[in-house]
Symmetry: D2
Subunit: 350 residues, 4 copies
Amino acid sequence: MKAFVMEELEEVGFAEKDVPEPGPTDAIVRPTKGLVCTSDVHTVHGAIGERENLTLGHEAVGVVDAVGSAVTDFEPGDRVAVGAITPDWGSAAAQNGHPSQSGGALGGWKFANEKDGVFAEYFHVNEADANIAHIPQGVSDEEAAYVADMMSTGFMAAENADIPMGGTVAVFALGPVGLMAVKGAALQGAGRIIGVEAVPERIELARRYGADDVVNFEEEDPVEVITALTDGEGVDAAIEALGANAAFESCIAVTKPGGTISNVGYHGQGEYVNIPRSEWGVGMAEKDIVTGLCPGGRLRLQRLLRLLDEGRVDPTPMTTHEFDFAAVDEAFELMESKEDGIIKPLVDFT
Amino acid sequence: MKAFVMEELEEVGFAEKDVPEPGPTDAIVRPTKGLVCTSDVHTVHGAIGERENLTLGHEAVGVVDAVGSAVTDFEPGDRVAVGAITPDWGSAAAQNGHPSQSGGALGGWKFANEKDGVFAEYFHVNEADANIAHIPQGVSDEEAAYVADMMSTGFMAAENADIPMGGTVAVFALGPVGLMAVKGAALQGAGRIIGVEAVPERIELARRYGADDVVNFEEEDPVEVITALTDGEGVDAAIEALGANAAFESCIAVTKPGGTISNVGYHGQGEYVNIPRSEWGVGMAEKDIVTGLCPGGRLRLQRLLRLLDEGRVDPTPMTTHEFDFAAVDEAFELMESKEDGIIKPLVDFT
Amino acid sequence: MKAFVMEELEEVGFAEKDVPEPGPTDAIVRPTKGLVCTSDVHTVHGAIGERENLTLGHEAVGVVDAVGSAVTDFEPGDRVAVGAITPDWGSAAAQNGHPSQSGGALGGWKFANEKDGVFAEYFHVNEADANIAHIPQGVSDEEAAYVADMMSTGFMAAENADIPMGGTVAVFALGPVGLMAVKGAALQGAGRIIGVEAVPERIELARRYGADDVVNFEEEDPVEVITALTDGEGVDAAIEALGANAAFESCIAVTKPGGTISNVGYHGQGEYVNIPRSEWGVGMAEKDIVTGLCPGGRLRLQRLLRLLDEGRVDPTPMTTHEFDFAAVDEAFELMESKEDGIIKPLVDFT
Amino acid sequence: MKAFVMEELEEVGFAEKDVPEPGPTDAIVRPTKGLVCTSDVHTVHGAIGERENLTLGHEAVGVVDAVGSAVTDFEPGDRVAVGAITPDWGSAAAQNGHPSQSGGALGGWKFANEKDGVFAEYFHVNEADANIAHIPQGVSDEEAAYVADMMSTGFMAAENADIPMGGTVAVFALGPVGLMAVKGAALQGAGRIIGVEAVPERIELARRYGADDVVNFEEEDPVEVITALTDGEGVDAAIEALGANAAFESCIAVTKPGGTISNVGYHGQGEYVNIPRSEWGVGMAEKDIVTGLCPGGRLRLQRLLRLLDEGRVDPTPMTTHEFDFAAVDEAFELMESKEDGIIKPLVDFT
């Protein structure tokens, strides 16, 4: 079968691979739609170390092609969503309430990390009964592709932020995860949502998803503006959706004592993530810092699919471009250059 | 001044009273708009025992008329919202995270219970800096009147229900508190909201506030229908907004193991509230039962007012009738008879 | 192999059965020590319905005899503790944070319920890597047998009670689960622990596990005494470890507004579990009712074993009697008659 | 009256001041016993900025000398404990569940910060009914003095750490707060408590309070040792009780994915508190960082006093030295030099 791989650091291309076989609890899925993620680009640049001939991609929906002997709830032909994170549910971390960390830090993240990803004619899913979900009839493949990572991660950012009903929230960086964090904050009852972004297309979309104000950090100082917008009090919660010290430090600064900083940004550089000491109240201002990795699992997928099915969220305006699988390399280039107002490129495998 | 009072059990009428004086931390408020609550009717019928010449009403907004010497944040002329519940913030219960129980069970409920209520030309508020809030310019008096009780109580029902993002919720009884519980569930990220009600006007309004399905309990068995709608699993959370054993028992029955029953109904009759033993999994199915009394306090009011100010909720469709203060007795009669599709009668004091 | 079975309702005896075989993720364990539980007696009387030739028992430790092909962390000869509850970790309920409810209400309870129990020469464990734990060298088989149910359930009662540091707790009924709830409350930082019991041996042991006061309900009214002991305020948390309406109602009555009722008693009789309406503050006093079924899982077992290994708890004073496996029927009779000051009978399989 | 003051930066001495007068809700207390805190020393060195003629001290118990007209629960002659932190209970932060932050970051900390402290013949307490507590007869003044800060702060460190029953905890630095964090961890059900310290007297006392292992950081690398002691997994929770980047970074490193870092150390230096990026799992390993300032309030004091009254903790072994008030300057010098095995110096005002 054809697979789109990271041949080595900085090199991507198509390769021919064997169709994977399912173990007793696994499934093999034939993707129909997928989405390219910035983290795929990071991977190619070495964010998770060296890899050779590794199939890329972790966001896809498809049709079940084969299942292992112990799989009970799915059969070939089923239309399914698959989580970007596919935990080992019996692990100590999962029993501890942190399935995304099963088997070690970030251990639930298997696609295009520990094993081949989803950008191939077929891909393998571990613990199928626990890690995939049927797509309701009223939900399209494109919509469903967003539950794998973008909705699950962005909504988690808002859930972790512990937003009080009617509270104030700042979201730093409005890429697709930040946009879903904005929508997630609205779905958690936020009273006022303030985004921080400079790209016009993203600002516009953020307003559509519920942002009441957006601070253009190229024109204004977000800390000053957010402090002023909250009458000097600071926000109840700040969401870091970038993965950079500048944004992280601003999150600490704009959060009120007793508030929460929810980090979803992937911090890919530097020795330290910096907490500004004074703004953090010398470690006594009860500004808690919470982090998370995209929640996976069938139940999570089902709940996100339900939000789609009942029309409570529409992620498809984030699809700014579409490519056939054969042209997925062009999607990668675009995600890298960030040109043409790109937010998410959809990949068609059919 | 003129006050609308419960003269004795079963008797209401207008009385002449002295204008109240503020203690050092208190405020005197001149109401502009108020709402009549079913619990006022219950009070007249003896739900909280005998009372004599007690001014009724606990939902009102108005203008500050006078403040005590220690009040720092409000002054005469300020347009303010006032909580139905006005806790003693230094009490043990408040320090314990349960301000509505300050001074004993339900002790934060003072208006038309421990002291005169708000249906008078002036009314008294304890701990003014902590129990009233300025109304933002963009919010009308009518809108603001809903934060006192309906929004605070209804939203609390949803907050207490611990609804997972995309989870399923059933709301039993869609009076104004149930309607706000529906809206609250939507604002907490519910994936599917199922109401139970028989009055057509309420069913229609529930759909507007986010109900995906409404079961007419006069035509169908809610337990059967809700069980079927959730593929036999039951809901993540059930909200009891009636205060009757039939609804309470159904809530236990339709909630999945590991789910939550959130009670906001006032249970006014009988020796026991009944938990059906088998449906409750013989006390081991992890179906927790959570209760609450309307949260008060300036911070709560500010947050609810923010939701109004940003247009995230519009409670005014619940205003089905309007009366001048001089005709508030007619509003009471209507709340009792439940005729004419009444949901909430607005009282104009100006 | 020899097994001690419930032949039918009200009939127990020894039977000859085949040694069980492990599926790919399972283990077969040869028990060394076991404990008889009151719920085994209830089962024989029909508490969970009719059963035929069902091996009894759910509390045992032993030695691994065989493992399935997919088991990675255990091998024959390993000395292991086994949870009374052995969840399906990939299930929706487990993903929802309620593994004991996997597959339906109380679905994690498989031994002597859905399948043969542990009172046999060999028994079968599902998902072995997730449901058994190695016993540390310093922990005896007898000690370890208590983690299966008594410590896990009793401590859960205290954990669910949400006891504030230095708070007050009442524990109704001081059988082995109630005794471990007392110890659990001490391990959760309770400031004052009040037990309710009439059996002298249990009262004495409760004091050893941390009870500061014990009310003899045959001599005094627990509600009156506990109310007086708490200066009229009531306790922060009440634990129901009996499973009877009298105790449950008292729990509601003695808990302060804003407190928690933690139910671990198995309610085996009657149509309803009764909440006294007035004492419950008409459903608005924020007296939450929380329930649970014994937590299982390797992580839980490891943590409880650690408490034994570090000497933080000693459950063995609860072992009042010992029997060889061949005499387990006598242990059953004693658990039924409750004679001779019995608390827990230890069964020796070696 | 005589007061021990910070005359200016780096200068302390005795001064003559007027006896304070109570406002309507205040009390004036005549101290009997007090404790000197390292943070008093920090204050003199400028940690909270310049101050002039400010009375030092925030840990004391005493006798009520006078109360304001609105105080209802205390009267002259009452023996009382007083919190180091005395929140404004009606404030937005207190209503938000963060009373120690009332009026701004760390705003509940008034003694020897916003106003005169307790090292004087008389001192002033705001909101007396909410911020002081009667000392039970069985509790000595010396014992009670420890609830003001040491027990409240140290136990909070353990409460914030969200320790699972039987979980593993590391406590970095075993000064009096760290020692009480060790005891707090034991009172929260920790299974294994690992301290990090180099001073022999503190190591010995830590074992008495429940530490199972203590790593001498001058002889071994705590990260290596703790990782080894936990079989490579890391601890469930790490407590930072020092306020230094070295300890903070180690806390991040030794905590398992999904664990909690509980900071109580006062970070007094440097621009940043450093989170080591890789050890923090690039911001996705669910290692949450929680902070807090000593909880105050009458309820908290009562609960801590109850733990003393029931004999669940004995803080007095931490009293290594005693001084008359007239010699409190010598106590200060000792706290600075850290000589003579000092842990806490007790000050006698009688």
